[in-house]
Amino acid sequence: MKTLTWIAQQEARLVWRRLSTRVLWGLFTLFLVAAALLSHQRQTSERRQQRHYQELVRREWMEQPDRHPHRVAHYGNFAFKPRSPLASFDPGVEAQVGRVQYLEAHRQNAMNFAEAGGLTAAGRLGELSPAFVAGPLLALVIAVIGHGAFVEDRELGRLRVLLAQGAGRHALWWGKAGGLTLAITPFALMVPVAQVAATLLWSGQSGLTDSLFGSDALLLRGCLLLLAMLLHALLWVLVTVLVSSLAATRAQSAATLLCMWLCACLVIPRAAAGLASALSPLPTRSEFNARLASELEKLGDSHNPDDPAYVTFREGLLRKYGAVSLDELPVNYKGILMAKGEEQTSQVFEAEMSRVESVMDRQDALVSAVAWLSPVLSWQDISMRLCGTDVIAARRFARQAEAWRYGFVQKLNALQRDHISHSQNSTQRLDRSHWQEFEEFRPVAPSLAEVLRGSQPAWFRLGLACVIIASAVGLMEGRRRTA
């Protein structure tokens, strides 16, 4: 153990003696700072914009004149997808998910203005983010710094000298791994430093307070991000030293590691995406709408009080109140019918949407399965979830927006039922004071506990991979006798 720590210390010192390490650190920091600042600036300005329109929309809602409730239901409202304060660290799927959804009666509109829709073809090569620097780029740094860890000693004949000093193979292996870990610590530490600095710099200007996460959870999430980053880095350290201890030449070790990196970061994720969408294809928007239309066709038109689809419903209602005609009802039949129609259409939509979501779940499951081959996917999974920018958060938002839409539309239908008389349905207006009773949309992001539960498999994958490599090293180095 004493030998091990001694080797680790000296190994780290050795790495930092090289000019190339220092230059690499400079470049790494440069990219990190650029990513943190630009990403923060962008997220802050988008959040500010969004807040502005959110307030505008709220004001416009409150300032509506006297209107018929169903007019208000068609006036509708907007659900803005809140930007998580950590989106500047990992934007996740924010660019792919739209920014705003128009909510109105009878229909569930799609999200609009996804940032990715405005990207050029070259934009699809990907965008720099601090999460990219902390994950894939740090892994690359580890491979570059550590590829010679063992093989250089062997190529230059030092390995025999080291062993001849009485260093055990295990001590040497773990000393090298420890040394590499120590050596990349100055790289890894820059990530939280840059992130905190960028946050302080920009939040001072924007003065935004975030309702999405409590500030303590924010800190905890940051610590967990750091932990995940270190675990991912540790895996790469182990892989790097392993490859280095098996390779014949430095060039071979470097080529192997860089090909692994290329596969893990570029090839496997994209291939997984392609495979997932080829194996379980999603319906297109047209197909989806066509299915929806044919399902809705079966229901009838709730705008039309004489629609034959609702005759039994109407008769039942008349019987319940003991009335002969609709005008005799104490409530407005059109409001009730509208509520009934809304209930039915949203059930149909819900059913169709959950079919689509189950396909997406299958696709995500395939990506998770492939993540066994690429630790970068596991890192992305953890970091997106912790930053609140993952697909689960996006879907939860969509579901909450739909629930809120359903709520306010039904509330308006109730107002129509209770306050608008059946005979004067087309001309009567409702006092504007009623609009004040409607609450603002406040989506709730998944809590930290949920996030942790969801990202368990990814943590497990990273941890298990580390354990497997460590035990493989134990077996291999235990058996080996020659230099």
Partner: protein, 441 residues
Amino acid sequence: MRGRSTWIVLAALFAAGMFSLGLGASFWRTQREEIARLPAQYEAQMERLAHRYAKGDEAGYWAYYTASPTWQQPHPLAALAWGVRDVAPLVTWVRLLGLEPQLYDAPLGNPRLQALGGFDLAFVLGILAPCALLLLSHDALSRDASRGTLPLLAAQAGGLAPVLAARIAAALLLVLTTCALLWLASLVWSGLEIRPALDSATWLSSAALHLLFWAALAAAIASATRTPAASLATALGCWVFIVVLLPALVNLALSASFPVPEGLELTVRQRQAMHETWDQPRQPNFARFLSERPEWPHAKEVPEQFTWTWYYAMHELADRSVSELAKSYAQRLRERRVWTERLSWLCPPMLLQLRLCAIARTDLESHLIHLERVRAHHHQLKLHFFPLIAADKTLLPADAARFPRFSDSAPPSLPPPASTPLILLSIAALLIVRPSRLLAA
């Protein structure tokens, strides 16, 4: 790198290429099928309407419920360069209502997969092929320098330049042949038409030109490094920087410096304009509507109760209120594109990506042009329906056959960004090639 490892690298490249072709073929087929289904979907909808309005109904009702599909027929090359196709919709259904809210719906997609990016042939040629080339050629000289055979080699061949040129050319030829084989495979396998022969030639030559740049870079690296480990580290360092980091940084900088707030503004304003008009006195607004619609002087008066004329006039007024914003939205995106193009002069993979997607009509510009054609179609709908609505006509199911349909013209042909920067960068890289330096101890 010689012997077995050369073949492993080339085989891996070829396998990746074949995989991308498989995905591309299925991607392309899905899109073609989607478009092929549109007429049937439209007919099914019209049948439902014919059933509902069997005895005829107001033109306004027909117009309200008739959605007509517009689409972009994918260019055959779109199977090889997907561009923005997975995030920008291929098909847009339009109704006579306000157009703007109908234009920007995201296609139904899994954001997680979209964020991971596509595995198309453009990715293989632009990202993986340079890596293969560098793996094959980085140690063109250092393999001899490290063994000490370099002076001998130089003496035999009359200088190092011919040796370097021959070895780099051999590597380039191997990679190019692999790419050409992939190209042929794409023609055979996915049954692509070679018909846009000019496009195909430009497409393939862009990829070749791009590899030429990397070959020049490989020559520069080979002549500047003495050990295989150093040349490998330098080559792959350059590759990661040029292929991964530089585009990622440029993209982030562009989206940070060209925000597009028009999207939100447009959505919010359109709705407000639309609903405000309901509550305002109708006549002045209607006069405003007619001022740009001189073709309907007979519809001067608008009654206070609901009429379809007024309903659609309101929709158009709402569209008009945000037309400036819509223009500036497209303008902003074009600005971003122009800057991407300019910055891509420094980053060959970006330039290649732009070129390949422009030729395949899967870039942003093609999408913006598609949006313009959707607008034109919407205008056709107005020209057809407005006179009927203003005249309060009743339409029978038989009339539906005359409703305007989107005419599928050839995809727009756009000049792709010039490839001169690729040539200039190749020459610049060649200028720093000085193999004789390696002989000086």
